[in-house]
């Protein structure tokens, strides 16, 4: 079984093992941690504004008296969710668009690739920055869609060129002559044969989406209040980072750990799935 071989290779890989352990720990902290803390993320402690970390408020409090521990974990949940969803959507889109363009060729290819070029030229930062604060009631799912819509293009070009070589393989030709519809061939024979590329891409997309969300939220163009994410917390924290370092250090540290662990897994996956490559 190939998947067994891959899993064994993955867990023999030190990088991937550390990354996996760290990620599981972080997810546990994000989702179980709030039950251990004393405060809820919506609670405000009017007796403690901007207080330093203490036995009562483990990670200190914000300028409006929120418990930073609770708020940060809440933000981390959102960041993890955004990372996963954006990665799934954008890798899925890249696979579909790339495979259709590569398999059908001709005008389908030209139209799709032209769209890809256009999206690459369009300033995604500007578009998301203008659109996202104007979304009704700060619905963060729309933000996920926006972020995903601008992160699939380069992968789809790789998928396209891989599809063009897969198209000529005997088993694909055979399926075509057996009368299987072309869209079915794409989903049954082409896309599964690129699974290693897609899995690696999806993993690395998780970390870049988490960074992308944080980057946009840094300027207030991402997740809108009262919702919090690691990005919005880092943004408010960095304004007062010199005077009240805990406001910055905890969210930023968790963001870096999260991205680092996902990247470690992605790199390990690449070694396990694609032993020939060392890129």
């Amino acid at each position: 079984m190939r998947s067994k071989v891959v899993l064994r290779r993955l867990f023999r890989n030190n990088q991937a093992r550390y990354g996996f352990v760290a990620l599981v720990a972080l997810v546990l902290v994000a989702y179980v941690g709030p039950y251990i803390g004393k405060y809820d993320w919506t609670e405000k402690d009017f007796m403690a504004f901007l207080s330093a970390p203490s036995a009562d408020h483990w990670w200190g409090t914000t300028s409006i008296g929120q418990d930073l521990y609770a708020v940060t974990l809440r933000g981390m949940q959102k960041s993890i969710l955004i990372g996963l969803m954006v990665a799934l959507i954008s890798t899925g889109l890249a696979a579909i668009v790339g495979a259709f363009a590569g398999y059908f060729g001709g005008w389908v290819d030209r139209v799709l690739m032209w769209g890809v070029e256009l999206l690459l030229v369009l300033p995604s930062f500007l578009l998301i920055a203008i659109i996202s604060p104007r979304l009704k009631s700060g619905n963060w799912l729309w933000f996920v869609v926006l972020l995903a819509a601008f992160s699939w293009m380069i992968t789809s070009r790789v998928v396209r060129s891989m599809t063009m070589s897969l198209r000529e393989r005997e088993y694909v030709q055979a399926a075509l002559y057996m009368g299987i519809p072309r869209w079915k061939i794409i989903f049954r024979h082409i896309v599964p044969n690129m699974s290693s590329l897609l899995i690696i891409d999806a993993t690395l997309n998780v970390s870049s989406a988490i960074i992308g969300e944080a980057a946009l939220s840094f300027f207030g163009f991402g997740i809108q209040p009262p919702d919090v994410s690691l990005g919005t917390l880092i943004a408010t924290g960095s304004d007062n980072a010199t005077g009240y370092p805990w406001l910055f250090v905890f969210p930023a540290g968790l963001l870096v750990l999260l991205v680092l662990s996902v990247n470690l897994i992605g790199d390990g996956l690449r070694d396990a799935l694609d032993p020939g490559s060392n890129s």
Partner: protein, 327 residues
């Protein structure tokens, strides 16, 4: 090659036109420059607001296509219009362009040079201690987003300065306008230290290049032509530098060309965090100020830069890779 480049250029020009038109349309339909005038105390009469906005081609009562036509005729003759309060976008663009250039050129070059050197070194010393150290270091740096890195550097500098009791390293602004001559030059260099560090070592700088360069170099080192070069009597050093490194530079050079292309607009975070008033900061400020013409100008400018970057990368690859020139 010439014909191919011309065709690429033509396609890119069309893409730039579309991208900046779409950006203008989006900005013109969603942003509201009127808000800045409506909120004034004492209130400004509506007729006066309309007249002012008309003069700047920002009036939302004019159909958007008509505004677009006015804007596009201006851009074709090299005039990007007026900002929301009537200043010339061209002047602003001319000034801010060079702020960004001064900020970024050093960091971009340093990041590339350090990254390529470290990457090549760690490929040659594969699995030795140096390679491991560089690998771990670049992995950690790649996971730190630039806004975290820049803020961390600023905190560290703040504490260092406070500990010393005087300002050793500046962490905000571009220069001190009170100084002049050589003192001001030194002061400018001092202000460059932190942004340059944060630009050159981070995920888009040395850490990134070192990983690409290491992988490419490892590929190349195993190839026959490097062994042949050594077999014909070249010293190991010469063979590595002239034959291996040159070939392995191609992908890094492509990325480098793109980062040179974005040299004017690529440092939104660094500019905002260290208070440089360059193009990146302008984009964020103009979005917040509902400044339609400035947003469109930055976008058009960025698109043109990317166009040149992709041409530059083609030329660089052709210069480094003889196979491209033949075909």
């Amino acid at each position: 090659m010439g014909k191919y480049l011309l065709r690429r250029l033509a396609i890119n020009v069309i893409l730039v036109v579309i991208a900046s038109s779409l950006a203008y349309m989006l900005a013109a339909t969603t942003m509201n420059p009127r808000a800045a005038y409506q909120g004034r105390q004492p209130p400004v009469p509506e007729a006066v607001i309309d007249k002012t906005l008309d003069a700047y081609n920002l009036n939302d009562k004019t159909p958007v296509l008509q505004r677009y036509a006015t804007w596009a005729t201006g851009v074709v003759t090299g005039d990007f219009g007026k900002t929301w309060n009537g200043a010339s976008v061209n002047d602003e663009l001319g000034r801010r362009m060079f702020v960004s250039l001064r900020l970024l050129i050093l960091g971009t070059l340093l990041g590339f040079a350090i990254g390529v050197a470290l990457g090549a070194y760690s490929a040659v010393k594969q699995y030795k201690f140096g390679d491991r150290l560089i690998g771990v270091g670049s992995f950690v740096l790649m996971a730190i987003p630039v806004f975290v890195l820049a803020t961390l550097l600023a905190i560290a500098t703040y504490n260092l300065n406070r500990g010393l009791g005087f300002t050793l390293i500046e962490y905000t602004g571009e220069y001190n306008p009170k100084l002049s001559g050589f003192d001001q030059f030194l002061n400018r260099l001092n202000h460059l230290i932190l942004p340059t560090i944060s630009l050159s070592i981070g995920g888009s700088g040395a850490a990134f290049y070192s990983r690409i360069q290491r992988n490419m170099m490892l590929d190349v080192l195993g190839q026959d032509f490097v062994r042949t070069a050594m077999a014909k009597g070249l010293r190991r050093r010469t063979a590595l530098m002239k034959h291996a490194l040159r070939t392995a530079l191609i992908p890094s050079a492509t990325y480098f060309a793109f980062s040179v292309g974005t040299v004017f607009t690529g440092a939104i975070f660094t500019e905002k965090i260290y208070n440089w008033h360059g193009m990146g900061a302008w984009l964020v400020d103009s979005i917040n100020a509902n400044d339609v013409n400035s947003v469109a100008a930055v976008t058009a400018f960025t698109a043109v830069c990317i166009l040149f970057a992709s041409l530059l990368s083609d030329l660089l690859v052709a210069a480094l890779d003889p196979r491209v020139r033949v075909s």
